[in-house]
Symmetry: C2
Subunit: 339 residues, 2 copies
């Protein structure tokens, strides 16, 4: 029997895994933002000595993987699974970045929700007795993403105010069945939600209903109220999407206004750094979690966090064919202690 | 403790899940092949009434999902997770096909290894107490894949003898913690293997070392010998890849010559249907498993099968940048009974 299920979408982990170590590497623009001191490494330029943006992104994944292991004093042999993915077609940033790892690999695709999808699956594999240690990683790269999803950077195409800036960064974590926290206590897996939005330049707006759905169902499943958390943190809704999400959740009877923030509003100074509606990309939630949030939890400044990474499951082809934007949001509940 | 691990890469499921139902939908060419009577539906043309190949592929995914539920007499509400993915950029065949499902969704990307990756994760989620019922689905579409990965079909580009023909088809299964088999007893998760091959027109050759690695490690982990199985079935190595795989595994001390076959050699009549080295695509292993193999197991003609779906983790961009082809193979062990 599925005795670890709580409600329709949520798992309560029997023996909550510990986040043993995290690592993050970001690009120069992220390194110029408000969270600059929270990352492990800020690279000087978008190529990082490679010949293409895609190869640079793979290198960032590879180096983040190394740092996660190093910070936990683990060897690749200690890791039972890597669960990872990215935004590039066929997830090549990840597969090329990790091809030398020699660790069983589960590739996932959840667009910008990837970090929470991987931490969720990883937590279940550990709690189920299938793994001792799992590494979860995801990345995005502004240049490789713009080239693939939008326009050649060289064109200098103007961006509408609702557009978001894809984070150049990779973040990840090692989770384990041994440790004294922070613990992943609950996993709320999202459903695909498509409310008919079709503006690929307003991804936050498209993803907001999915984020709201996951947040509301997390409360319904667990019986928690917003008071349970110090912070409810969406992945990359940006300024437009976050306010839509807040409104929907409040309308559904859960007032999250005092608890809600968004990684896409934290990593850049939105005005000074001219990123329009905020940041986006798999690397956004991943690096903000692996850096700032994890550090604040370790310092006891945050005790309970609900991290809800959000993904827009479209492609340039679907947009060209006039389709709307299916979205998803996966949530994990992180707690400093088990009290 | 990870007490369900056996060796480095394998899980022995404590309470092996049952494959309750399967379904498959294929295109006209597959419907003209030797396995024509094993599929649930053969569609008449590649568009299936839609305006684009991509929309047709999504429709096939949606209809396969419906049939899997129908054959098991289940409603969407009975399903705890869908685990699915496909070959299209950002996995849009799957996300658009399943956007109306209202079921928690875990998107994965394992190229043509997807069906075994999904059955493997799904089996662990069930055995770990996280789910009662999981649906695993994957698809590919010859036309959408050729357009994306190779050349416009209208060009009529000549294909080298080592090329494989992407299956137009979707296959999937419902696995459950209730049932009398066939059971998924073991899961062997693959590592990324890159032996330096860079010929994107010889994917079978590129994937063969990954398949061999998973097969050999499955034997080492479990202590099984090839005699344990009635059939060791790779996903889509084709005629070239299968012979390389056989040679590597035999050299490693396990003679699989009498047990080995390949879904990519079963679904088409290779000579009459002019598919060169065989079939490929996520839909290849998925539809052969969901149709022919599942039916043979249910008839007791096959009692123990090791299904090893194989994936090439490249993209057109990585090939254009001169990269080699990282590959992976995930294995699941299926047994008619628990004796």
């Amino acid at each position: 029997m599925a005795d670890k299920r709580v409600g329709k979408q949520t798992i309560k982990l029997g023996t909550p895994p510990t986040v043993i170590s995290t690592a993050s590497i970001v690009g120069p623009k992220e390194g110029d933002g408000p969270l600059r001191h929270t990352f492990d490494l800020v690279i000087d330029d978008e190529m990082w000595g490679e010949k293409t943006w895609e190869k640079a992104e793979s290198k960032i994944v590879k180096e983040t993987w190394s740092r996660i292991l190093e910070k936990a004093s683990k060897a690749p042999d200690d890791i039972n699974y890597i669960i990872a993915g990215d935004l590039l077609n066929q997830c090549i940033a990840t597969t090329f970045g990790l091809r030398g790892s020699s660790v069983p690999y589960l590739g996932i695709y959840g667009a910008c929700s990837t970090i929470c999808e991987s931490l969720g699956i990883g937590s279940m594999l550990i709690d189920g007795g299938f793994a001792d240690n799992v590494v979860c990683i995801t990345s995005s790269h502004f240049c490789s993403a713009e080239k693939q999803f939008r326009f050649p950077l060289e064109l200098g195409t103007q961006r509408p105010p609702s557009a978001q800036w894809t984070v150049l960064g990779c973040g990840g974590a090692l989770i384990s069945n041994r440790g004294q926290g922070p613990y992943i206590t609950h996993v709320t897996t999202g459903k695909i939600v498509d409310m008919g939005t079709n503006d690929a330049n307003n991804m936050g707006g498209a993803m907001a209903p999915a984020a709201a759905d996951t947040i509301v169902n997390h409360f319904k499943d667990t019986g928690f109220t917003p008071d349970y958390y110090d912070l409810i943190l969406t992945g990359d809704l940006g300024i437009i999407g976050m306010s839509i999400c807040e409104e929907i959740v409040n309308e559904m009877g859960f007032n999250i206004s005092k608890k809600l923030n968004d990684c896409g509003l934290m990593i850049f100074d939105r005005i000074r750094q001219d990123v329009h509606a905020g940041a986006s990309g798999c690397g956004c939630a991943a690096t903000v979690f692996a850096g700032h949030i994890y550090q604040e939890i370790m310092k006891n400044n945050l005790k309970k966090v609900f991290l809800v990474a959000t993904g827009a499951l479209l492609s340039p082809t679907s947009t060209q064919q006039g389709e709307t934007i299916p979205s998803i949001a996966h949530g994990i509940s992180i707690s400093r202690t088990l009290n």
